[in-house]
């Protein structure tokens, strides 16, 4: 797999990382080396092997559906970079009419 600049730029956009061309060029050879290394997995025969996604055999863990206190709004908002009343504030998404 060749990691060309356009492919890397696309991945950075998906990852929501605003990287300059210089940043991307610095990262590219290292990432390329890592991907070439992990490409060794392609040589293995994994036909019919069930994936292992979790080392414990627990599924559908439930708790009793009893109401209990949650995080108070002030605590949830305490670390927010910007708030507006009881809400997290973000830059405008929809243009004003």
């Amino acid at each position: 797999m060749d990691f060309d600049p356009a492919a890397l730029r696309h991945i950075a956009r998906l990852a929501r990382l605003d990287l300059t061309d210089a940043d991307l060029e610095a990262i590219r050879p290292r990432l390329q080396a890592i991907i070439e290394y992990v490409d060794q997995l392609k040589k293995l025969d994994v036909e019919g092997v069930p994936p292992l996604d979790n080392a414990v055999d627990l599924t559908n863990v439930r708790r009793p559906d009893d109401p209990r206190p949650g995080l108070p709004a002030e605590a949830a908002l305490a670390n927010a970079p910007a708030v507006a009343g009881p809400y997290f504030a973000v830059p405008r998404i929809i243009d004003a009419p």
């Binding site: 890397l8 991945i11 950075a12 956009r13 998906l14 990852a15 929501r16 990382l17 605003d18 990287l19 940043d23 990262i27 290292r30 990432l31 080396a33 890592i34 991907i35 290394y37 992990v38 060794q40 997995l41 392609k42 293995l44 994994v46 092997v49 069930p50 994936p51 292992l52 996604d53 979790n54 080392a55 414990v56 627990l58 863990v61 708790r63 995080l71 605590a75 949830a76 305490a78 670390n79 927010a80 970079p81 910007a82 997290f88 973000v90 830059p91 405008r92 998404i93």
Partner: protein, 476 residues
């Protein structure tokens, strides 16, 4: 007095505090004093509780001074994960393990340095500063829990907690000359541990001997309804059943763990420890883990995928750094992340995004999950003929700061013996097994069957007891 308290085992401190021979406040002060004196050289701590409130004079850890890796949520100080993106983050709740330590009487001294978001094996990738190895300040303490390992080695804390995703407790324990235990996946609640790779992360203790590690496990282990991956059922009696005769213990030596790349001095120290158990009646069995050579590749695909997903939450909206540059919503998120994350974190997020992208997910992520199954099967097969596996924790003793910075892949290979336990969910411990001629500690790793945490601790204790190595104090 101060230095004597600094190297007392946790169990003796707790006994002295419970019987009022000393007070928790005196023990805390002695350690804070050492932190003031020595931490400017070691830089194990990101934050110190100068007025640490002493633990209660009751409980199994009465007055025992403990340090916490700074990816565990606490209420008293920031929880930074070693990242600039969380520089001022104050957790709104406390991790379960921290509540349990406090309830057992422990004194929390502060939060320790780590590779940013626990991504690294040297603690050089911290967003703040590197931590240094107490045995040689020009060398790394290992990582990512390097601050927690160094603090215990230097007598700045009696015990500490770390997290182990691919070796981040065991490798720094080996390089810093202390005991580090990674329990079976699910043994210790992760409620309040900032997630790196959720199918691999596990919290565990550092201590200067196995008895203290078992004592801390007895406090932090056990089911927690706040963590859905926490295992139900009672914990084993880690402390009461710790002493066990190694006679008849079947020790598997994976041939791949003694292959090329292993430092000769480290190998000799590890083999000397194993031969000591053999002389006491343990049986040596040669086993094979043929998938070992694919462990690192599998690990980096799984880890990067899960990390890129977990770290999506740092978007400048709910908490953490937000860019000052004027921007629309998407640009605000993208700039905040680019400004807040360090280079290694960005690399792994990009790798994770790549292996999860729709046209690559089968070739990389899904394939890695299948190889992960093969790795787990390797261990199952090996454990048919032995009770525990033993080998080196790390291929080399501590390396110099900067030695492996230019090539991330060479750093990743430090984890070759440790990632298997995370991929297969096994318990593992690193126990000191002596020093190289250059005065650097070496670690012996013991791995056990899933849920055989007690067996691993017993074997570790047997190594410690039969080798009879005394706890050494680094010259600072």
């Amino acid at each position: 007095m101060t230095d004597d308290l600094a190297f007392l085992p946790a169990r003796e401190i707790a006994e002295c505090v419970r019987s009022r021979k000393t007070s928790a406040a005196e023990v805390a002060q002695a350690h804070l004093e050492r932190i003031r004196k020595f931490d400017p050289k070691i830089k194990a701590f990101l934050s110190v509780r100068q007025n640490a409130s002493p633990g209660a004079p009751t409980g199994p850890l009465a007055g025992v001074p403990v340090a916490l890796k700074d990816n565990l949520c606490t209420l008293e100080e920031p929880t930074t994960c070693g990242s600039k993106i969380l520089e001022n983050y104050r957790a709104p709740y406390e991790a379960t393990v921290v509540s349990r330590l406090r309830a057992a009487g422990a004194t929390i001294l502060g939060k320790t340095n780590l590779d940013e978001f626990a991504m690294g094996s040297s603690t050089e990738n911290s967003g703040y500063f590197p931590t240094r190895n107490p045995w040689d300040l020009s060398r790394v303490p290992g990582g990512s829990s390097g601050g927690s390992a160094a603090a215990v080695a230097a007598g700045l804390a009696t015990a500490s907690l770390g997290s182990d995703t691919g070796g981040s407790i065991r490798e720094p324990a080996a390089l810093s000359g202390v005991v580090g235990f990674k329990p079976t996946y699910g043994r210790v609640s992760r409620h309040g541990l900032v997630a790196l790779a959720s199918s691999l992360d596990q919290i565990g203790p550092f201590a200067r001997d196995v008895q203290d590690a078992a004592l801390v496990m007895s406090v932090i282990g056990g089911h927690d309804p706040q963590d859905s991956t926490s295992l139900p059922g009672a914990s084993p009696d880690y402390v009461g059943k710790l002493e066990r005769d190694p006679k008849g213990l079947r020790i598997g030596l994976p041939r791949e763990y003694f292959a090329d790349g292993l430092d000769a001095e480290v190998r000799d120290l590890v083999m000397t420890a194993i031969r000591t158990l053999e002389k006491r009646g343990a049986k040596i069995v040669n086993v094979a883990l043929p998938m070992t050579e694919h462990g690192i590749a599998t690990y980096y695909v799984v880890l990067a995928a899960e990390a890129s997903s977990n770290l999506a939450r740092y978007d400048g909206v709910h908490y953490g750094h937000r860019t000052k540059a004027p921007a629309g919503l998407i640009e605000m998120m993208s700039k905040s992340r680019a400004e807040g994350f360090g280079p290694e974190v960005k690399r792994r997020i990009l790798l994770g995004t790549f292996v999860l992208s729709s046209d690559r997910i089968d070739a990389y992520y899904h394939r890695a999950q299948k190889v992960r199954r093969l790795i787990a099967r390797d261990f199952e097969k090996a454990f048919e003929s032995c009770d525990v596996l033993m080998g080196p924790t790390s291929p080399t003793a501590a390396f110099k700061l900067g030695e492996k910075s230019a090539d991330p892949l060479s750093l990743y290979l430090c984890d070759v013996y440790t990632v298997g336990a995370n991929l297969a969910g096994l318990p593992g411990i690193s126990v000191p097994c002596g020093f190289t001629k250059g005065g650097l500690p070496a670690g012996l790793q013991i791995l056990g069957r899933p849920l055989d945490d007690l067996g691993v601790l017993q074997a570790g204790r047997a190594v410690e007891r039969e080798l009879g190595l005394l706890v050494q104090r680094p010259a600072l």
